[in-house]
């Protein structure tokens, strides 16, 4: 599971240059959590997450929306990609679209886990 999570973050970060990105990354990460819940039970996974997966959705949407609005503060139209000039070690260039992708990533995890966990916790 840690490996899968790491892989998902890797996918998320490299998305701008190679195959990958927030959506796939998020899916992989949610698979990681789903596998964990299969082996250890849903309650254990919930404990691991520390919060309801539903709460990831607003956070993710917030980050994405923030990156959409951010250029407005610099007098540019919304969605303009902003880039920090210097390179960060390991990650490379950081831009506002990375934030957007992180937002997508979180939303995807939130959505998938919400749906799956709600269904798996429903007992008739």
């Amino acid at each position: 599971m840690p490996i899968l999570l790491l892989f998902s973050i890797f996918l998320l970060l490299r998305g701008h240059y190679y195959p990958g990105g927030g959506f796939v990354g998020g899916l992989v990460a949610s698979i990681a959590f789903v596998l964990h819940s299969f082996t250890n039970g849903t309650d254990a996974t919930m404990k691991l997450l520390g919060r309801k997966p539903l709460s990831l959705i607003p956070v993710g949407l917030g980050i994405s929306a923030f990156s959409v609005i951010l250029p407005l503060f610099f007098g540019l139209p919304p969605m303009t990609g902003l880039w920090v000039q210097e390179k960060f070690p390991l990650i490379g260039l950081i831009g506002s679209s990375l934030f957007f992708d992180i937002g997508v990533y979180l939303v995807v995890i939130g959505v998938v886990l919400t749906i799956l966990f709600t269904i798996s916790l429903t007992d008739d």
Partner: protein, 769 residues
């Protein structure tokens, strides 16, 4: 000026966090908002009465031609004063009227919103801005009319009002856009200069028609008048504010504002005069047959609005002057009468004038206010209503050659009925002997009757010094309506002439009518006989028809079965594609142009087909799910072969998750059932085979079409330069088409919340059981 419009919006927003204290301790703060605005506008008196215009502009959405352009001229000024001035009175009044109501904060929120919207209408100089505020008044009035939302009748009348005014707003928008297209400008003050282009344009009648639809629905002209009487279910402060001074006058304002742009033609004046003339006579006669106080007032308001429409349509200098004076006079006395009716309702708990009598003994100040307002509405000399009525007669008498006799007759008939109606509402409840049941009534809070009395006194004050009142408020308004200098001079005494004679005759005849017209329930039954002919009835029939149609349609197309949705979507797509293919001519398939199959591909396709057959024939759900995921993975492999790693990866993860989801759900499903009949199976087979065939044909056909690679080239070339990314697919997702992605994530979230809440809801109910 922008600030004055925004302040109401902010005020209504502030009621969300601070609603509780404002409801009880600090409720005195609320009326201070309109009062402050009123004082703010009063300071413009010297500037406006000397003919100045004040402009203010703030860029908002310049790319769409929408700017926050505000203009204060005579007409806007008159309306702004009415809105804020009467608003102040209403706010004070409502504070006591709805004292201790649990939703008082909400009420004031709506009221603030409404006030801002009205101010916005009269101040905006941009037609789109005007439309936005126009719709805002419709929406806020919907909430205000339906304020007693636990009464079905109240909700229904709110919906009626919203339907009628909303429909009008729709027409108005169409008219405004057309107007903007013809003249090339969206600024009202600039439209005036392109008047000649507009009135000679072939689409001019259409513009007029659409615009008038908007104005007539808002101002309750026949045949759209019915929403106003039914809107009387609202609390009385709302009726007084919306239906005397402001909202219904928005339509009149629109007519007045566009009179210099569109007016002066036969189309314009004939339509207005016919609609207005019919409405004023019809509603005035109707008001005499009512027994409910507010209903009488509602019909007399409709009649007054008819008079205003009629006058604007008449369009002579006298008529415009009369209109600008009558707007003020009517607002003053009608608001008073509504407030008086509200106090009576509040104290006596009935508005039935067959029961009410002798209330002057217990509610003296209210009786004085009612008397003064009734006299003003009757056109008694020394009240402002007298001046207004005089001017109306003057306008009709000097209207032209042949028609002036007919027009004057119409005006006199209307006014006689209105005099009687005004007396019925303002005097009858207070006259006569006090019935025993009302003896215990005591005078309510000062803040309840003081606004009514002040407004009534103002009507008398203006009536005594009409010269000053006219100079201050009406002159510039009249100039703005007519688009030229009207040289308005109001005088109390015009000497003995025909107009005075008519006025006095009207008053006498009205008083006589008041005495002989005893209200009774019989008349109500009489009116009800004609119900099937009324526009309201027809509209209701129409609405019911729409309801039953939509129920039928929903049952047919949205039956909640996923399989039926699937079927319909696929069928529709098939038809669309087949049509397009048929249009594109004979189908040529070039088998030689296709690439050779590799061994991997053949293997994958073989697995795919095997899984497919397995899935269709199996009797076990689990097998079906597993075969489905095999199909998914095979598709994945195909993507890999054709170098679409992004797609493959996504498909792969999605498939994994889908399988997990299916397995989770599988436990909770009933055992495998065969619900489909044989016929349905054959139908499904046909649809899916058809879909497959058509898609294959499309795919093969694509080879023959010249492929435009412009789009993909653009993305390929620019993704690194503009967005610093090497993965084109991802760059498209997060940068070029970022907004799409953004909304897709929103959609996903909504879906998740939907699943969560639906399942949780079931969980909760099953826990309860």
């Amino acid at each position: 000026m922008l600030f004055t419009v925004l302040s109401g919006l902010i005020g209504s927003l502030l009621l969300l966090p601070f609603g509780k204290p404002l409801k009880s301790k600090w409720s005195l703060l609320l009326p201070l908002l309109p009062a402050a605005l009123f004082i703010y506008y009063l300071q413009y008196i010297p500037a406006i009465s000397s003919g100045e215009q004040i402009h203010q502009s703030t860029a908002w959405v310049p790319s769409l031609g929408m700017n926050l352009d505000f203009r204060l001229d005579g007409l806007s000024f008159l309306f702004a004063l009415l809105i804020t001035g009467i608003g102040t009175a209403i706010f004070f009044y409502a504070r006591s009227y709805l004292k201790n109501h649990i939703y008082l904060d909400r009420f004031f929120g709506y009221l603030c919103l409404f006030m801002s919207a009205m101010l916005g209408i009269v101040l905006s100089d941009n037609i789109f801005l005007l439309f936005i505020f126009w719709e805002l008044t419709s929406i806020s009035s919907f909430f205000l009319i339906g304020f007693n939302n636990n009464e079905p009748a109240s909700r229904k009348s709110a919906t009626t009002a919203l339907t009628v005014t909303g429909m009008g707003g729709f027409f108005l928008l169409a008219g405004l856009i057309l107007l903007g297209n013809i003249s090339g400008t969206y600024t009202i003050s600039e439209l005036v200069s392109s008047r000649n282009t507009i009135i000679h344009h072939p689409q001019y009648p259409l513009v007029v028609g659409l615009l008038l639809m908007g104005a007539f629905t808002k101002s309750a002209q026949f045949p759209f008048h019915f929403w106003l009487p039914s809107a009387m279910r609202a609390p009385t402060p709302v009726s007084a504010y919306l239906h005397s001074a402001t909202m219904v006058k928005a339509g009149i304002y629109l007519l007045a504002r566009f009179n210099p742009i569109l007016g002066g033609t036969d189309w314009w004046s004939n339509t207005l005069m016919i609609a207005g003339g019919f409405t004023m006579v019809y509603a005035a006669c109707h008001s005499l047959l009512r027994t409910d106080l507010k209903s009488i007032l509602a019909y007399s308001t409709i009649s007054a609005l008819g008079i205003l429409t009629f006058l604007i349509g008449l369009g002579t200098r006298d008529a415009i002057i009369a209109a600008s004076v009558f707007i003020l006079a009517h607002a003053l006395y009608k608001a008073t009468l509504f407030l008086v009716a509200g106090i009576i309702d509040h104290e006596a708990h009935t508005r039935d004038i067959t029961k009410l009598a002798g209330l002057r003994k217990v509610l003296l100040p209210v009786a004085v206010a009612g008397l003064l307002a009734a006299l003003s509405s009757g056109g008694m000399p020394l009240t402002f209503g007298f001046i207004g009525k005089d001017l109306i007669y003057e306008a009709t008498l000097h209207a032209g050659t042949s028609s002036s006799f007919i027009l004057t007759t119409l005006a006199v008939t209307t006014n006689i009925a209105l005099v009687a109606a005004g007396f019925m509402a303002g005097i009858r409840p207070f006259a006569g002997k006090l019935p025993a049941e009302f003896e215990k009534i005591h005078l309510p809070y000062t803040s309840l009757w003081l606004p009514a009395l002040l407004l009534a006194l103002l009507g008398v004050l203006f009536g005594c010094v009409p010269g000053i009142a006219g100079q201050l408020f009406s002159l510039q308004a009249a100039n703005a309506i007519s688009g030229s200098d009207t040289q308005l001079h109001l005088k109390l005494w015009h000497g003995f002439n025909l107009v005075l004679l008519l006025s006095l005759a009207t008053l006498a005849a009205g008083t006589f009518l008041y005495y002989i017209n005893k209200p009774s329930d019989k008349k109500q039954y009489f009116i009800q006989k004609f119900n099937p002919l009324s526009p309201e009835f027809i509209l209701n029939r129409f609405a019911n028809g729409i309801f039953s149609f939509s129920t039928w349609y929903t049952g047919k197309f949205h039956n909640g079965y996923l399989r039926s949705y699937h079927l319909k979507i696929l069928l529709f797509a098939e038809m669309l594609l087949a049509y397009k293919l048929w249009l594109s001519g004979p189908i040529k398939i070039d088998f030689y142009g296709l690439a050779m199959l590799s061994i991997y591909e053949i293997a994958v396709v073989a697995i795919l087909i095997g899984a497919l057959i397995m899935m269709i024939l199996t009797q076990s759900r689990l097998t079906a799910v597993v075969s489905m995921s095999i199909i998914g993975y095979c598709t994945c492999l195909m993507f890999v072969f054709y170098s679409a790693p992004d797609l493959a990866m996504t498909q792969f993860t999605i498939d994994t998750l889908t399988t997990v989801l299916f397995v989770l759900v599988l436990y909770k499903l009933p055992p495998f059932l065969n619900l489909a009949t044989t016929w349905e199976r054959y139908r499904d087979i046909a649809v899916s085979l058809g879909f497959g065939v058509i898609l294959s044909l499309v795919a093969l056909q694509v080879h023959h079409e010249a492929i435009s690679t412009q789009t993909s080239e653009f993305y390929a070339n620019n993704s690194y330069i503009l967005a610093k990314g090497k993965n084109v697919v991802n760059v498209i997702l997060v940068d070029f088409r970022g907004i799409d992605t953004m909304f897709e994530t929103v959609v996903l979230s909504i879906a998740a919340i939907g699943v969560y809440s639906l399942l949780r809801l079931r969980l909760k109910t099953s826990e309860k059981e």
